[in-house]
């Protein structure tokens, strides 16, 4: 009970400060729309190519954008924490009886809520552009992204505490993000890739999340692809949360 209370306090404070940052707010909402408007039209031409999944091209593209938004957005939330460490806010909060885990969980919750709002805006726009996908599958897809995003946010905070500097954080986050992004089939499906590339991409957990999301957008809720995606997602969540929790509870963090 006390833990939930403290998590809520940290969440409200983090949310309040995020909402006060107007530039961040506008960029956060505009970014998914720009992807839809500027990249989406290219897809219509590719949609007929061999290897491209059948069906609505928006239903192939939008799940990729969701993952891009969720996972790769979350990987960089640690930058905000470095600022808070430098301001002394984290240390101040650590010299209270509040649970160290609540200090992490409140911030991760803020990131998950932000992600849900951004996803809703993205999906509303995608439907307007011509997305055709069953609501049930889409809702499940958004939930999966929110949980996996929370796992990446948690890991990002841990990396932020461990590196302590923007430079260190940026080099680690980028060296993780870029290969994950290129090998996930976010922008174009991996079904278009030659065999060797497809094999390599199979070890990328994000690729399985993207595949599961695309299946959900097709309405294939009870499919093997979705099952694999959910399992991979659960593993990511367990790993990300464990990493974040351990780092936040270390004495010198």
């Amino acid at each position: 009970m006390r833990f939930l209370n403290e998590t809520w306090l940290v969440f409200v404070r983090a949310m309040r400060l995020s909402l006060r940052n107007k530039v961040w707010l506008i960029i956060g909402l505009m970014q998914p729309l720009l992807y839809l408007a500027l990249f989406g039209p290219l897809l219509k031409r590719i949609a007929g190519m061999p290897g491209f999944p059948h069906g609505n091209s928006w239903a192939v593209f939008t799940p990729g954008l969701l993952v891009q938004l969720g996972i790769f957005g979350a990987l960089f939330v640690g930058f905000g924490l470095i600022a808070e460490v430098r301001e002394g806010v984290i240390e101040r909060m650590r010299v209270t009886p509040a649970s160290r885990l609540a200090l992490l969980a409140g911030r991760v919750l803020r990131d998950a809520v932000v992600l849900l709002v951004q996803s809703t805006v993205l999906l509303a726009a995608a439907y307007a552009f011509g997305l055709r996908a069953p609501i049930g599958g889409v809702v499940l897809a958004v939930l999966l992204v929110a949980f996996v995003g929370a796992a990446f946010a948690s890991a990002s905070y841990a990396v932020a505490l461990l590196t302590g500097t923007e430079e260190g954080m940026a080099s680690i986050a980028n060296s993780i993000a870029v290969p994950l992004l290129l090998l996930s089939g976010i922008l174009l499906p991996m079904t278009l890739a030659p065999g060797w590339l497809r094999t390599v991409s199979n070890v990328n957990p994000v690729k399985h999340i993207v595949d599961a999301l695309r299946a959900l957008f097709q309405g294939h809720v009870l499919s093997g692809t979705v099952g694999v995606g959910v399992l991979v997602g659960a593993a990511l969540i367990a790993a990300g949360m464990a990493f974040g929790t351990r780092t936040f509870q270390r004495d010198s963090a």
């Binding site: 306090l9 404070r13 301001e87 002394g88 101040r92 009886p97 509040a98």
Partner: protein, 326 residues
């Protein structure tokens, strides 16, 4: 038997950091006693181990060795209870620039388990006590350096702790804000009975503010006592005599050498510089002996030792040995 109540009791507190060159000892087993109601200064140059010790006492860093009782609770076994009973004012500040003063105070109070109403009531009282009236609805980033430091103190006091830790409380403040802050820190003790443990690398601050001083250098406590005790123990008074006739220097030196406890620091040209335990008692006799030895003086200067002298004689170094950034 008279029982003294201690707010901090540390024995053999040590912190080693692993590094490529092996273990680096930042703090090498310090003993610290702080009585209830004292203002104790932890004095030392940068890198001496002050902040590391403070971070251990405030539960932010686990000690490698040693034990401590802080505000009545065991540091290792009951860190949460310690945190509930202390305030901590860090060197780097404690507020987000965009957050409003009132929000930070209420949130911090509630992290300490206070109700919203209690946190707000205490926050408003602290703000007014620390001369921050009308700042409640202002973003923290718009406060001046001195105001922001006082807000850090208000945050540290929201749980009404009997013990307040402050890390370099006046670093970076202008002289007026420093003097003002000293007054507030004295007020915390005098009016609220708060025990204060602060680190500083300013000798004048330790001298003006602290009841007792612990001098730390290279991770070890090298001296402890009241400012007056430290000055008396370590240096004695300094006297500089300027002679009319440099040729009389040997006679003057012969006179001075006969006084008990004298150390001649410098004898050069017309100048004779020496230290002795109690200048005010010894000087009348010295003057008479000099006159009968035929030495006439052009000038005389008596200087009470400063903590700078104390530090120099304890460590062989000036306290501010780092160049000041231009």
């Amino acid at each position: 038997m008279l029982k003294v109540d201690y707010m901090v009791q540390a024995r053999g507190l040590a912190k080693h950091f692993p590094s490529r060159a092996g273990d680096v000892a930042a703090v090498r087993g310090v003993d610290i006693d702080v009585e209830v109601g004292e203002i104790v200064g932890f004095l030392g140059p940068n890198g001496a181990g002050k902040t590391t010790t403070l971070r251990m006492l405030t539960t932010l860093l686990a000690p490698t060795a040693g034990a401590a009782t802080v505000a009545g609770h065991d540091l290792r076994r009951e860190p949460v209870a310690v945190r509930a009973r202390i305030g901590y004012v860090s060197q780097r500040g404690s507020t987000s620039p965009q957050a409003l003063v009132g929000e930070e105070l209420i949130d911090h109070g509630r992290l300490h388990g206070l109700s919203r109403a209690t946190a707000e009531m205490r926050g408003r009282a602290l703000i007014s006590e620390l001369d921050l009236d009308r700042s409640w609805d202002r973003p923290c980033g718009t406060l001046s350096g001195g105001q922001r430091r006082r807000l850090d103190i208000a945050l540290g006091l929201i749980n009404e702790p009997p013990l307040l830790f402050m890390d370099e409380p006046t670093t970076g403040l202008d002289p007026q804000s420093r003097a003002n802050l000293w007054q507030h820190i004295r007020g915390l003790r005098d009016e609220h009975g708060v025990t204060v443990f602060l680190t500083t690398h300013y000798l004048d601050e330790a001298d003006a503010l602290c009841d007792r001083i612990l001098v730390i250098d290279h991770g070890e406590i090298v001296a402890a006592g009241t400012p007056t005790e430290l000055k008396r123990e370590v240096s004695g008074d300094r006297v500089a005599l300027q002679l009319h006739d440099p040729a009389r220097l040997p006679s003057a030196r012969a006179v001075v050498d006969r006084i008990a406890g004298v150390t001649v620091m410098r004898a050069d040209g017309d100048l004779l510089d020496f230290s002795l335990p109690d200048a005010s008692a010894a000087l009348p006799g010295v003057m008479a002996s000099l006159a009968s030895a035929g030495v006439t003086l052009a000038g005389i200067e008596v200087r009470r030792p400063t903590l700078d002298d104390v530090f120099l004689s304890l460590t062989g170094r000036e306290l501010r040995d780092q160049p000041i950034a231009a």
